[in-house]
């Protein structure tokens, strides 16, 4: 979201524009829920975190100083609340440890010389086609859903929500290198999960 849009939205929200608030909720609620789910165990706990977040956003609107984008600010509130909730659940969220238990997600099809044994299976013959039609969209989201939590939260914030790398590092308190490894593993896994689905839909 551009800074100007942000300013405009903030003015409308502070003026009590219900339509603006509803739009804001519709745009972000689902992503907030997804991110919350990477911290806490159950959907109802995530719902609670999101609910608390929205209320904190409402209370904080008048004092918001626009040092970050509105969106980043909302996600920061969410991550803080979700961390607190996760601590209550005594759940450790290993964002900083690179999901170390994740076995190599990279393609298995390399020979001893490091080259493809045979060309990797492709997603689709038509590169212009997005992967968003009907069932495939669901497979795409399922693939994200099935990632380990660190990868899931990073790919959600980077590729679905659209935050930049810097914002994500600050939010999750991880290094840039860490962020890039998680993002890469996540994307590689999502791609690998989609290949058989696309083959089926051909």
């Amino acid at each position: 979201m551009a800074v100007d849009d942000d300013e405009d939205l903030l003015i409308r929200l502070r003026a009590g524009d219900e339509e603006a608030f509803e739009e804001f909720v519709v745009d972000h609620d689902s992503a907030l829920r997804r991110v919350a789910r990477t911290f806490v165990r159950t959907p109802s706990a995530a719902d609670e975190v999101v609910q608390e977040t929205w209320l904190a956003v409402l209370r904080g609107l008048s004092g918001f100083e626009a040092r970050s984008s509105l969106r980043t600010w909302v996600f920061r509130i969410l991550v803080n609340r979700a961390r607190t909730a996760a601590t209550r659940e005594a759940r450790q969220v290993p964002f900083s440890t690179l999901d170390a238990d994740d076995p190599s997600v990279f393609e298995p099809g390399f020979g001893r010389d490091g080259r493809w044994i045979s060309a990797p299976a492709r997603l689709d013959g038509d590169p212009e086609r997005q992967l968003l039609s009907g069932e495939l969209r669901q497979h795409l989201l399922d693939a994200v859903e099935n990632l380990p939590p660190g990868q899931r939260v990073v790919i959600t914030l980077r590729d679905i929500v659209g935050l930049d790398a810097d914002e994500v590092c600050k939010l999750l308190e991880i290094t840039d290198g860490n962020q890039r490894v998680l993002l890469h593993r996540a994307r590689a896994r999502v791609r690998a999960a989609l290949v058989p689905q696309v083959e089926r839909h051909r």
Partner: protein, 88 residues
């Protein structure tokens, strides 16, 4: 001259390395020399070219995905809170 020699003797990338660098490449995070090795490999390997294309599509599709809107009850509750806060 030494620089020239070093560049000539840089090992070419193999596919396994290429695949691991794809996200950094898309992020523009590869150092210059690494990027040149990456692109040199890209130019001569159809398998890796296809892989990069797929990763671009995955990222592009995720950018375009619209998530489900919250259910009406959630929306209504939040709007009520919004109103209350204004009035309260």
């Amino acid at each position: 001259m030494p620089v020239f020699r070093r560049q000539r003797h840089v090992d070419p990338l193999v596919c396994r390395e290429f695949v691991q660098l794809v996200s950094d490449y898309l992020e523009g995070a590869l150092p210059e020399q690494e990027r040149r090795r990456f692109e040199a490999h890209l130019a001569e390997c159809d398998g890796c070219d296809g892989y990069l294309e797929d990763m671009r599509r995955v990222v592009g599709s995720l950018h375009e995905v619209t998530l489900a809107a919250p259910d009406p009850a959630t929306r209504e509750a939040l709007l009520r809170a919004f109103r209350d806060l204004r009035e309260g």
